[in-house]
């Protein structure tokens, strides 16, 4: 099997596995279904890594499915392109799926006997959709995989259909992401009307030839498609679905959503810009730079503020994902290969660290039936190893060298330069500090315990009388549905091992120089507009001058240490001075904006669409 022939298998394999599980899941014992899913996902992961290694120095594999190659640069064939960034994300998706499946072995109660295969089947379908999205070289297929990814994710978010909150979160998620999907399709329709093509490379070539004619149409199409991807990326003001979905989704699903699915939205915007619009005069580089930078700053600041204000641990981690998405957008806005390699390493490191933090939060759910920072104050002292992991994860999130997050942050700072450096340090310190505050309070009993009336169990009784008890807009993490049959007395080995392995992977990203040079080469070809078209349409490789291999710079190390120190100081200060549960009054309007009302969220998303259009014009 050649590398190109392996590409369809990476998508079709997990999809077939899901179909088998759906068909036979009814009769399978649970462990058979779980092992089968892990083997399928693991085989796909091994294949993705294998193809990635085999093509690291060679030609980019391109597969025209069914042999339907374009004639004279036109055609309706479906193409899969395994370039460095795309294949790398496929490998990341597959590895993370395997970890999430292993984590979920001990995580769920036995499902009802007639749907043993449902959860692993959904996860495999999710994997197939994400791999398809990263590998496709066709804009319409990107839409189809986007929607498949969405539909499976709504089902996974609302997996515990017996839970009132779970179905509500899944519904909000569904409304916003589907609306984003339709915006993509409208944009695809306009691009097809203008160029008569659906492939990324073909549309790009036609736009190149068109010069500045029909600038308005091209801009509208970019705004519509980019809006869809930014909804998935949870950029403010399209982000409202993400905290709700993470609050209610089962923890293994959160690991996948926050670890990689959200970042695929950022990838979508970058892929769209470089393959389709980068060479056309109709969409100036400054306009895209301005739009990404403005949205990125807004996202990073909003995410960091709300992250600091949360008491629900999973919701806190969700807002930290939003903050980091903002940082990814700020870095990408520079639109250089260095920015792409910095962002790619940041995404890799972030995936490991964030998934590890969610894995630790899931252990809290299993042990205490709660993820509320105040209710759990001091109760996690017997889970010391988990506490250590959580603390290290918080420091890594703040950018402590030599974690991959630290390297990615340092490289992104270098690429962005100037005042964004302050933003990178402040935002990563705030998110890391919030995690450290939780770690200090919950696992080490630091700071003053909350007063009795702050304990959610005391207010929980009022809550049944009506919503008035929660006039002060916030989501507590008490009364979390238990996901194991009995409350576990210590962290189950598989869950703990998954968390530790993920954190170690996040560390490895910052310590393996061969990975850095591979990412740098991948970023060079990712940002090469005409090279992509040549590779896909004419199977000819151009040899680019390589960008310098990224590495740790003294300034990057110093800034990483500074962020980690700032995070620790902030957490220490919060634990020592601010009484638990008191949140500043100025934050109320921002918190009220997150009203839990799908209609409000849709209105904000439409306003965001207008904002993006204004920024691009």
């Amino acid at each position: 099997m050649t590398a190109a022939q392996a590409l369809p298998v990476l998508v079709a394999g997990p999809l077939l596995g899901a179909a088998v599980l759906v068909a036979t899941g009814r009769w399978l014992p649970r462990y058979v279904a779980d092992v089968f899913a892990a083997v399928v996902a693991g085989a796909a992961a091994a294949l993705a890594v294998g193809v990635l290694v085999a093509t690291a120095d060679g030609a980019t594999p391109v597969e025209w499915v069914g042999g339907r190659r374009p004639r004279d640069g036109a055609g309706v064939g479906i193409v899969l392109v395994g370039d460095g960034i795309g294949l790398g994300l496929t490998a990341l998706v597959s590895v993370l799926v395997v970890t999430a499946l292993i984590y979920s072995w001990r995580f769920f109660d036995d499902p009802p006997s007639h749907q043993t295969g449902a959860f692993p089947a959904l996860i495999l379908a999710f994997q197939a959709a994400m791999c398809g999205f990263t590998l496709t070289g066709d804009l319409f297929n990107a839409f189809v995989f986007f929607e498949l990814m969405g539909v499976v994710a709504y089902a996974l978010t609302g997996y515990r259909v017996e839970e009132a909150r779970a179905v509500q979160g899944a519904l909000t998620f569904g409304f916003l992401n589907s609306l984003g999907g339709y915006a993509i399709l409208l944009g695809v329709g306009l691009l097809y009307a203008h160029t008569g093509q659906l492939g990324l490379a073909q549309i790009g070539q036609h736009l190149d030839a068109g010069g500045e004619r029909s600038g308005a149409l091209v801009k509208v199409a970019f705004v519509l498609v980019a809006t869809g991807f930014l909804v998935k990326a949870a950029a403010v003001p399209f982000h409202f679905w993400l905290p709700d979905a993470h609050t209610v989704a089962p923890t293994p699903v959160c690991m996948l959503l926050s670890g990689v699915m959200v970042q695929l939205g950022v990838y979508g915007v970058a892929r769209l810009y470089w393959t389709v619009f980068a060479g056309s005069g109709a969409l100036p580089e400054e306009a895209v730079h301005r739009a990404l930078l403005a949205l990125g700053v807004l996202t990073a600041v909003t995410g960091a503020l709300l992250c600091w204000l949360q008491r629900h641990v999973k919701r806190l981690l969700a807002f930290s994902t939003i903050a980091h998405t903002g940082l990814f957008l700020v870095a990408l806005a520079v639109l250089t290969p260095e920015a792409v390699s910095g962002t790619a390493l940041y995404v890799l490191g972030h995936a490991g660290v964030k998934a590890a933090l969610f894995a630790c939060a899931g252990i809290l759910v299993d042990r205490f039936g709660s993820v509320d920072e105040q209710e759990l104050h001091g109760r996690g002292t017997r889970l010391r190893p988990v506490g250590v992991l959580f603390t290290v994860g918080g420091l890594a999130l703040a950018g402590l060298p030599p974690f991959g997050t630290g390297l990615g942050k340092a490289l992104s700072e270098e690429a962005a330069g100037g005042w964004p450096t302050v933003l990178f340090v402040a935002v990563s310190a705030a998110t890391g500090g919030a995690v450290l505050r939780v770690a200090g309070g919950v696992f080490f009993g630091l700071g003053s315990p909350p007063a009795d009336e702050d304990r959610p169990h005391a207010t929980g009784r009022h809550r049944q009388d009506g919503a008035e008890a929660h006039e002060d807009a916030e989501t507590t993490g008490a009364d979390e549905p238990e996901e194991t049959r009995e409350r576990v007395t210590r962290a189950p080995d598989t869950m703990f091992a998954a968390a530790a392995a993920l954190l170690a992977a996040g560390l490895a990203v910052g310590c393996v120089p061969p990975l850095w040079s591979a990412v740098s080469r991948a970023a060079d070809s990712f940002t090469d507009h005409s090279g992509y078209a040549m590779t896909v349409l004419h199977a000819t490789e151009q040899h680019l001058p390589h960008s310098p291999v990224p590495h740790w710079s003294p300034a990057g190390v110093a800034l990483g240490l500074a962020s980690a120190a700032l995070a620790a100081a902030g957490a220490w200060g919060a634990l020592r001075t601010v009484p638990s549960g008191v949140r500043p009054g100025w934050s109320l309007p921002l918190r009220r904006l997150h009203s839990g009302h799908a209609g409000d969220y849709v209105a904000c998303a439409v306003a965001g669409l207008t904002l993006l259009a204004a920024l691009v014009w």
Partner: protein, 115 residues
């Protein structure tokens, strides 16, 4: 080429968004989302329309003998219909569960996830 279908597509998308934003009933909201989706059908079919063209089925006409509308957008629309059916079914199933668990389908009364 008439501009009207494009204006209709834009109008449908906006009116669907308006319906979603102001909805007082989740079933109505799912319907509004379907209206948004209808705008994509109208846009795609308008893109492929050719004046005087017929259906791109060559069983009874000789290829090249008369103009046909673009079959590609019709394939895209069909795919879109399938996506929409899946989505509507899943969202309605979730609404049924919301109704069972919360005892209401008014989004104004679902206020647990906030801040």
């Amino acid at each position: 080429m008439s501009v009207l279908p494009y204006l209709v597509a834009g109008w449908l998308f906006l009116v669907g968004c308006y319906g979603l934003a102001t909805s007082r009933n989740l079933i109505h909201a799912v319907g509004s989302l379907a209206v948004c989706q209808a705008s994509t059908y109208v846009l795609l079919l308008a893109v492929g329309y050719r004046h005087g063209g017929t259906a791109p089925v060559f069983s009874d006409i000789r290829p090249g003998s008369r103009p046909v509308v673009d079959p590609v957008v019709q394939a895209l629309t069909l795919t879109d219909v399938v996506v929409g059916a899946t989505l509507t079914a899943l969202l309605l199933a979730l609404v049924v569960q919301v109704s069972k668990r919360h005892g209401t389908v008014d989004p104004d009364e679902l206020r647990e996830l906030r801040g």
